[in-house]
Symmetry: none
Subunit: 528 residues, 2 copies
């Protein structure tokens, strides 16, 4: 079982992403979570480059990390001066990290064009920058920038730069695919060549510009590399860095490498979502291993199979990374999806029951009209209840009116809704305003019903999605509204479709409220 060290650079390379910036507090919180899950090295930033990073290296010392080592990032010294005169190297040492990682040039073209020095001078930069750090920092890593492009352009010189780092006793030499353009089969071959010349431990640092960053990292391990650099969720500039959330489970579960424990791996999904949260980004539902859809099944054939044997359509058990299997409803779904869903909602249903087929036909016909039940499970449950006759009517809407009024050219429109509902024998007639027609209607509806069902006060409208569906022959195009609601315990989605956006929204709002009332009553029933 090969031993692989994980080197996380979410806090440094990850923040190069266009849409990501962390506060020092965020960085400290993330570092603690990275330590918990068993990351061996946490690159905290480039102390030379900005004050935020300096603060991080100061504050992180107060934290009690269980095992992770903190790495500071920088570059080789500038030309024409000695290391002890180089501001960048000095700030690295002053940060007092466990590890220093500096990058240098591999590609002669960069040496000439970017550094504008001779190939020989560049070798000296690499050697004595590392030599300087070795006597001042516990561990020193060397990032060979543009290694693969450099090797393809001038293999001899590329190897020379690695030799310089090896001679300076770098603890690990990291091969970087800086531009992310290297194909997996080239990468494996080049690493084999490198190992003929370099005996020092090797690491890999890839970018995702060809959508091969994860595959390239796994290839590298397969070729004997002992350190993998990447970021949580693949955050990073341009197309991102290698995604550790996909690399960790592959190493542990598929390649049987020694990196993190099975217990730690179970925290992977939580870690992924925690980092999305602090970055203020919504998670990618299709993300491998940790995404909401990663183990979601839609096709009818698949669903019946996974219920008997999950491995038929799952490449691994979702629980191993803290995820779970989900069954979806759609026009592709067969009877088995319906039954699986019914079971989920504790509704007894028999596959031979004609009602099952009735519901199935109903769904297909509705989907043709533009309904969509993925993400609208609550509407689907109500649909089943109606077909099964277990649906209860808590209220009826006698009518409503929504008014949007603009009284002057540069004045924002005013939205108001009036509504009349009937509960039991009682009629309630009321009105409310809102920042738009749907919001006004929602407010009026709740205002009218909360008198009879105070529990509705707990319900919040969390998300509202609108899609205009292309018009069929001669018909006006219809509009689909998806609404996500939630209370203290749960979140549920409902759907409405109509030529009229107010009507579509109204349908989804009614479903949301009916679903809440069914849930509340069922809960009551349980307590009694």
């Amino acid at each position: 079982m090969s031993l692989v060290k994980l080197y996380d650079t979410t806090l440094r390379d990850g923040t190069q992403a266009e849409d990501i910036s962390f506060l020092v507090e965020d960085k400290i919180r993330i570092a603690n979570r990275l330590d918990e899950i068993g990351i061996h090295y946490i690159e905290g930033g480039w102390p030379g480059s900005n004050p935020k990073d300096v603060a991080f290296f100061k504050d992180i010392k107060k934290e009690k990390l269980s095992q992770a080592k903190i790495a500071a990032f920088g570059s080789t010294r500038r030309a024409k001066i000695t290391p002890d005169k180089d501001h960048n190297l000095k700030t690295l040492v002053q940060a007092e990290p466990d590890v220093c990682t500096i990058f240098g040039k591999t590609w002669d073209f960069h040496v000439r064009e970017a550094l504008r020095i001779s190939n020989e001078e560049n070798l000296e930069l690499i050697f004595d920058s590392l030599e300087y750090l070795k006597t001042r920092v516990p561990e020193v890593f060397y990032d060979a920038e543009h290694f693969f492009d450099g090797y393809k352009a001038n293999p001899d010189y590329a190897i020379k730069t690695l030799k310089a780092a090896q001679d300076a006793k770098a603890d690990c030499i990291v091969l970087c695919d800086t531009n992310g353009g290297t194909m997996p089969f080239e990468l494996a071959e080049i690493i084999r060549e490198v190992r003929k010349h370099i005996s020092a431990p090797l690491g890999i640092h890839t970018h995702n510009d060809s959508e091969c960053a994860v595959a390239n990292s796994l290839h590298a391990v397969n070729e004997g590399i002992v350190q993998v650099q990447g970021t949580i969720n693949g955050f990073g500039e341009r197309c991102g860095n290698a995604n550790l959330c996909s690399i960790m489970p592959a190493l542990r579960l598929k390649m049987k490498a020694e990196c993190v424990s099975d217990e730690q791996l179970k925290k992977l999904r939580d870690l992924s979502r925690f980092v999305y949260e602090l970055a203020n980004l919504s998670p990618d539902k299709h993300q491998p291993y940790v995404g909401n859809s990663a183990f979601a099944h839609k096709g009818g054939v698949h669903v019946s199979a996974i219920q008997r044997h999950p491995e038929t359509y799952e490449h691994m058990r979702p629980e191993l990374v803290g995820n779970m299997t989900r069954v979806l409803i759609s026009d592709l779904s067969g009877r088995s999806n319906i039954l699986a869903k019914a079971e989920e909602f504790n509704i007894n249903m028999d596959s031979k029951d004609p009602v099952t087929l009735e519901i199935l036909d109903n769904i297909k016909e509705m989907e043709n009209r533009g309904y969509q039940f993925e993400g609208a499970e609550a509407s689907f449950e109500l649909l089943m209840k109606r077909a099964l006759g277990t649906h209860r009517k808590f209220f009826s809407v006698i009518g409503f009116r929504v008014i949007d009024e603009k009284r002057h050219e540069d004045q924002k429109p005013f939205s108001e809704a009036t509504i009349m509902v009937k509960v039991g024998g009682k009629v309630e007639h009321t009105a409310a305003e809102g920042n738009g027609p749907v919001n006004a209607l929602d407010n009026a509806l709740r205002k009218a019903l909360e008198k009879f069902y105070p529990k509705l006060k707990e319900v919040k409208l969390l998300d509202y999605k609108v899609r205009v569906l292309p018009a069929g022959q001669g018909t006006a195009s219809s509009i689909r509204v998806l609404i996500e609601s939630g209370d203290k315990e749960a979140r549920w989605g409902t759907v409405g479709v109509s030529e009229n956006i107010i009507d579509a929204s109204y349908q989804a709002l009614i479903d949301s409220i009916e679903y809440k009332l069914h849930r509340a009553e069922d809960a009551e029933g349980v307590r009694k």
Copy 2:
């Protein structure tokens, strides 16, 4: 230069994604775009599995595709019956596609657990299902489901299933990584083994559950496979299918394979965004090759370097896939964009002119509020005209009121709009109804203005798109409306953003009408 055929399954496997459901109209529009970019095979669906797919195969025959062949998907016959009795195979033939692709079982575990038949019987299923189709359809492909998992479990039997397909003269045998769990280095090795036993042309179909789908597909081509199956943007069940938007440029530019022309490849980014648009998903800005951030560089060293030598920090030229280099937070690049746009609209502008910077700041501020001028060039042109003082005021809206009324539970709401406009000295006060609030407002607005500007009768509202923009801290989420209008000569897009959907739609409608009136008057001027 190896020849590789591209097989797109966006319309079949792509729709298995949790959040994707295309209408028949969408599928036809996408098929036309896939044909344009040079996709060789377009898998349209699974006829018989749902009404949508049957309709697609009927409607697509009316389209004039330049080269793409249409494929229908299905499975091998059921056990214990002859192919001519199998409903699934018959509907495949009835769809009259250019190609039939059927999948069969490779993994003995599936044969036992899912099909519940003997290994021998499964070989017969594969053989005579293909044999049956061969005499009835121009081309027949065989998808070896779970091939790689099956091979790892029982290599001899896995190869036997391929031999059965080869004996039945399948035109291509497609190796499927159905569960997406195969590591790139295993995949390459297994394909080498297969080629020792199978001489028929081979294809590859991978899923992204290990984030290796693209790498695995490229590996397969490197091992001599001649057909690659995938989807646009990697849409697909769970974590998606192999992403053709990343595979096409790699094949063409990095592996020098013959698949699509350089001209066609330049349409890649547009195609990617078109498919996102029809799926009503916002594009992934970090997507390789086609994403907004794929070639975005931060200021400083990187920028000056790429300006002298793009290859220093770009793995390929973005123009080759219709993308472009972006320099982040750089007024200079922003300014040149404005000038380029101005030129497009024949507006003379000087780069030193303060107005240029004013417009730039204006746009940045509006984009922060959620405006987007991609696809709303008419609004952008009016914005420039206002800044330059060349904008003319044709009318002013004194006020409007939109009413949506529902008088009974099962009655559709009635929508009505009243409006008061002023043109020159004259005030017009009128009303109109519509099948929704926006339609009613549009009707009333035109009714009021057509009296003064008869040319408005030519204008048609062609498309209406709504996107709910995520809310910032504490603020209500705002709504962006994109409207496409057109007359005999042209089509133009306008945009509006507000917390209130009626207000957002109103802004876009007003821009559309003002743009038409400017164009009409300019045309008049030309004639005089």
